[in-house]
Symmetry: C2
Subunit: 100 residues, 2 copies
């Protein structure tokens, strides 16, 4: 099982992510991606959907036309683990250049 | 342009919808759909995505594994219109029997 990231390990892992921030009211990380319109956002979400299904690690996520907000955390430990950090990196690779 | 639904007209329209409730803090309607897992939820969301793109009327929506929450309102009037009620009915037609 993945361990909850804490202390210096956590800070280092999060510092290597671009644009991901800690959620205030719970132990999770979030990022918002911006697209010109809904079809483009939906294309991105479909790619992410396949990736998360393959990983067996699903986000909570929200969409409003071109805006996609993703929240990652690991349910088993109710916190952020290496699985979330790795998934965040992989999602970023699918994102448009300005959101990477 | 669609007119904001108010008064008796609004009550009648909303009463004909099953499981849709008024959002407390703004003029919008919301419903939560439940699926056994993420792939099934995602299949439903893809159907809804195509429908909303065809209608040119997009929801705000949230997904957490098998849970899908949809919020409908009409941006042009910042409230609920006939367009939302019609879309709600059409989304319900795509939903599993227990959520219709």
């Amino acid at each position: 099982m993945s361990e909850k990231l804490v202390g210096a390990k956590r800070q280092t892992a999060l510092k290597e992510l671009h644009g991901w921030a800690e959620v205030l009211e719970r132990d999770a990380i979030r990022k918002t991606y911006h697209f010109p319109d809904f079809p483009t956002a939906w294309g991105f979400m479909n790619q992410v959907a396949l990736l998360t299904e393959k990983c067996g690690h699903h986000p909570e996520w929200f969409n409003d036309r071109g805006r996609v907000e993703i929240i990652l955390f690991t349910r088993e430990v109710d916190g952020v683990t290496g699985k979330d950090v790795e998934l965040a990196h992989r999602i970023d690779q699918m994102a448009p250049a300005h959101d990477r």
